[in-house]
């Protein structure tokens, strides 16, 4: 056996990738960190509202980690595995403490304690925040610690490098990656004893979303084509409040409602009066009316559907497909806490939201599903206030959040754990950092002891095979004499996916979309680059990822059509109820003969039995 020191590769430099990097570097194992952008520009910066954790103030009002878990499971409509959620919610307070020690500028009370805000799906204040740019602040805090390890020589950053494919040996074990320098266009192999994908969501499959342009889902779809499975890819979160735009839909954080913002439309259809001229009694606060307990803070899928149907019924502002999100009545101090998002609204629309209500509409926001991962369960000592039987994840087990491909892991939004049918607001930042911190040691343990053979012993033939595979793809695109325009195919893909597979999903419409995507895949074979040069060619990178987006789109549609029930974000007017038998299951999607192949896996509910998810709706 070679005594060569193990190495770990982290793909993606958002919260999940950076927190994993810190843990692995701290354990003394060198890390190669790959990102398509300087890591400080990763999509995690876009998270606004906050990060959930039980805290002493909430605890003394009856809140606990157990309730945080329960809320997460109830919000997710009981589709998720419970042990990882147990572990995540019980670690959450310690994660906040660590971020606090790293210097993240969390908002403070007069006494200097960390301030808290209310968020969707909870009746307790358990969301920690830094203004309305919490994701940015957390990402920077982790980026700084990674920079420290980089200065110590423990981390090598490969920024502006694109992940192309996992290197998988004859035993089916992942041994590294093929990546491409986005400036010089050089394609190179990198070996490692454990590889973690921390590559985020797939919003670009839907054209315009709240996600960054780098969130194509391409990296995940490449792993899928290489044999990794998807879990629940049909579960896509549509955020209720975004600013519709020509190039993207910009997020308007749930924190606006958490701080007291109200959603309303004029009671009279087609009312064209300016909002401030409409008196209070002529405004319809439909969320507050329908959900007296949670009001504007029902989970996102519920708020999204209510807004969508209010507009379908003709109550949108002046007959349009937009509703008001109103913070104009809030006190100045509260508006200050929301400054980061309110100034963005003003910059893009020209209207000052502290004076006039914002106009918003739902937009694709988050991928609950993603790469399928496993974990090792462990019975835990019951914490006071917890249920009788508690099952978490085993600390440091070498398979925590590993995909079905040994040696290939998935952390953060790219995996399918934690959120089930819908993610609660301010649980994403927690999930990403938890994965990195808790499962980072699993990477180390796998790289040191869990692996079947060291990466350093991998044969050159296998490495060459994968390099050639990727080089051939590039050559084929560059030499294509086709006619199809990749940007045009992408636009049509996005329009179709948004129309068929977001807020409302019917069998008929999704079948049509599946035909459209198949046709687009055919059209793609005739795709043509407008730039065939070999220096910083973004046209090539985009066009290559487009193929992966098309393949991901099919993997979303097939299980969405087959899931003949409504659960969380997956709303089927043709099957409006949740049907636990047979759908209390993970959709497993495998790539077989260029097609998605669907099967199911049971989801155990060892701690919290499923219950009806009503949020106290008045009938």
């Amino acid at each position: 056996m070679s005594q060569k020191q193990p190495r770990v590769i982290v793909v993606g430099g958002g919260l999940a990738g950076l927190s994993a990097t810190i843990k692995v570097a701290e354990a003394g194992v060198p890390v190669d960190l790959f990102s398509m952008v300087p890591v400080k520009r990763s999509h995690s910066v876009c998270a606004q509202g906050g990060i959930n954790a039980c805290n002493e103030v909430a605890r003394q009002q009856g809140y606990s980690e157990w309730i945080h878990m329960d809320e997460t499971l109830y919000g997710g409509d009981f589709l998720q595995h419970q042990p990882p959620v147990y572990e995540m919610t019980h670690w959450a307070p310690r994660i906040i403490d660590l971020l606090d020690r790293m210097g993240v500028p969390f908002n403070r009370t007069a006494e200097g304690q960390r301030d808290l805000r209310l968020f969707g799906g909870s009746l307790f204040k358990r969301t920690h925040f830094a203004g309305a740019s919490t994701g940015q602040q957390l990402l920077y805090g982790l980026d700084e610690q990674v920079r420290r390890h980089e200065a110590d020589g423990k981390v090598n950053k490969y920024e502006f490098w694109e992940f192309l494919w996992p290197i998988i040996d004859d035993n089916g074990e992942c041994k590294g990656i093929i990546a491409q320098d986005m400036r010089t266009m050089q394609i190179k192999p990198f070996l490692a004893d454990a590889v973690v994908m921390a590559t985020g969501g797939n919003g670009m499959v839907f054209g315009k979303s709240t996600m960054s342009v780098i969130c194509t889902g391409g990296a995940a779809a490449r792993c899928y084509q290489a044999g990794a499975w998807f879990g629940n890819p049909e579960f896509i979160q549509v955020h209720p409040t975004a600013i519709p735009g020509e190039d993207k839909c910009r997020l308007m954080s749930e924190s606006a409602r958490g701080e007291g913002g109200r959603v309303w439309v004029p009671r009279e259809k087609g009312d064209v009066r300016p909002p401030l001229d409409i008196p209070e009694e002529e405004r319809w606060y439909f969320l507050e009316e329908k959900y007296p307990a949670y009001g504007n803070l029902v989970p996102r899928d519920i708020a999204t559907r209510e807004i969508f149907f209010v507009c379908e019924d003709g109550y949108g502002i002046g007959g349009s497909r937009m509703v008001y999100l109103d913070v104009s009545h809030l006190p100045q101090g509260t508006k200050d806490k929301l400054k980061a998002i309110l100034e963005i609204y003003e910059k893009f629309t020209g209207d000052d939201p502290t004076e006039v209500p914002m106009k918003i509409f739902p937009a694709v926001h988050y991928s609950m599903g993603g790469l399928y991962t496993v974990f090792t369960e462990e019975e835990k000592e019951a914490v006071p206030g917890d249920g009788e039987k508690t099952i978490g994840m085993k600390d440091g087990a070498p398979n925590n959040m590993m995909t079905n491909i040994p040696g290939l892991f998935a952390f953060g939004e790219v995996n399918y754990q934690y959120h089930g049918g819908t993610r609660l607001g301010a649980n994403a930042l927690l999930n990403c950092i938890f994965d990195g911190l808790f499962c980072g040691p699993s990477l180390v343990n796998y790289a040191k002891e869990g692996r079947m053979s060291p990466a350093s012993e991998l044969s050159q033939d296998i490495i060459d095979k994968f390099v050639k595979q990727e080089q051939d793809k590039v050559d084929a695109l560059v030499n294509s004499k086709g006619k199809a325009n990749p940007y045009d195919i992408w636009r049509r893909l996005g329009d179709e996916m948004t129309a068929a597979a977001t807020v409302v999903r019917t069998e008929e419409r999704m079948q049509k979309a599946l035909e459209t995507v198949k046709a687009l895949r055919e059209e793609y074979k005739d795709v043509c680059l407008s730039d065939t040069g070999m220096w910083t060619n973004q046209n090539l990178s985009f066009t290559r990822a487009l193929n992966d987006m098309l393949i991901y789109a099919e993997a979303i549609l097939v299980p969405a059509i087959a899931r003949k029930e409504s659960r969380g974000s997956h709303y089927r007017p043709d099957y409006p109820e949740r049907i636990d038998d047979p759908f209390q299951k993970t959709s497993l999607v495998k790539y077989v003969n260029d097609q998605p192949e669907l099967s199911y896996e049971d989801v155990a509910t060892p701690m919290v039995p499923p219950r009806a998810r009503t949020y106290g709706k008045t009938s």
């Binding site: 980089e150 020509e246 993207k248 910009r250 980061a340 629309t349 046209n539």
Partner: protein, 264 residues
């Protein structure tokens, strides 16, 4: 200027450069007008149909972008002669401000001039990240073990740190600075802001002297000419004047202390 209701199209002139060694050149594109377009939308439209006004088939313009909501800092460029984020700069604003957008007087898009061009509007800002390493831009925690909460913080102190922490390493402050240049060693306002950010944190302050050593060197705080252009262009309105003043004072005190204690 054409009245906006009559506008059907507008013109954009882009500074192109195929690689660092090649000479730059300009290309003009005609784009369909819509209200509320941002500059990114123009570049996206060009990418899908890269044909110049002369009918020449060109290539998509290369530029850096990611979030498109002015928080990642990637898409900085010089638009109509002014530096800013191309996601939050609207075509209507430029037409209104400069009277541009016509065929004879198109909206100009150029890369920042204070950084090496990689290609077209995409520049190399790695020096900004390297500077963060030089100033030890981190809080030196003892490790990620569970060691309880960080120090309590006064809301006013938090407010200052929060404002400084919104720096997205976009480079606007450096592009606008008369002291900062491609060849020179002046580090610029970004670094002063970040130095104050870390020096203000209770644990971060344990590396304060190391950071001020860097501030004392050539290219440090004494090279600041106080033109205050940085504050004018900062998209996040960071308190950079305050940072420059405070870091100036901290550095002076640091030098005097070093002089009297004889420490090098």
């Amino acid at each position: 200027m054409i009245a906006s209701d009559a506008k059907k199209s507008f013109f954009v002139k882009v500074k192109r450069q195929d690689s660092p060694e090649k000479n730059p050149y300009y290309e003009v594109f005609e784009l369909p007008y819509k209200p509320n377009l941002n500059i990114i939308s123009c570049l996206q439209a060009i990418a899908s149909n890269p044909v110049t006004v002369d009918g020449k088939q060109s290539t998509p313009v290369v530029w850096d972008c990611s979030c498109l909501e002015e928080v990642c800092g990637a898409c900085t460029m010089v638009m109509g002669g002014q530096v800013g984020q191309s996601c939050s700069t609207l075509v209507d604003e430029l037409i209104e401000r400069d009277g541009t957008g016509t065929k004879d007087n198109p909206i100009t898009l150029e890369p920042m001039s204070k950084f090496p061009v990689v290609r077209d509007l995409f520049v190399d800002r790695s020096s900004m990240f390297a500077n963060l390493k030089d100033i030890k831009g981190w809080v030196p925690i003892d490790g990620t073990h569970d060691l309880g909460a960080g120090p309590k913080e006064d809301p006013e102190a938090q407010e200052l740190r929060y404002q400084l922490s919104r720096c997205m390493t976009c480079g606007c402050c450096l592009e606008a600075c008369p002291q900062f240049s491609l060849e020179g060693n002046f580090v610029g306002a970004q670094v002063f802001g970040q130095t104050l950010y870390f020096n203000t944190h209770e644990t971060g302050a344990s590396l304060k002297e190391d950071r001020l050593d860097v501030m004392q060197q050539a290219g440090g705080i004494s090279d600041c000419g106080n033109a205050q252009n940085c504050v004018e262009v900062c998209p996040k309105e960071l308190p950079l004047v305050e940072a420059i003043a405070k870091i100036g004072r901290q550095t002076t005190v640091h030098s005097i202390k070093k002089f009297f204690t004889g420490k090098k």
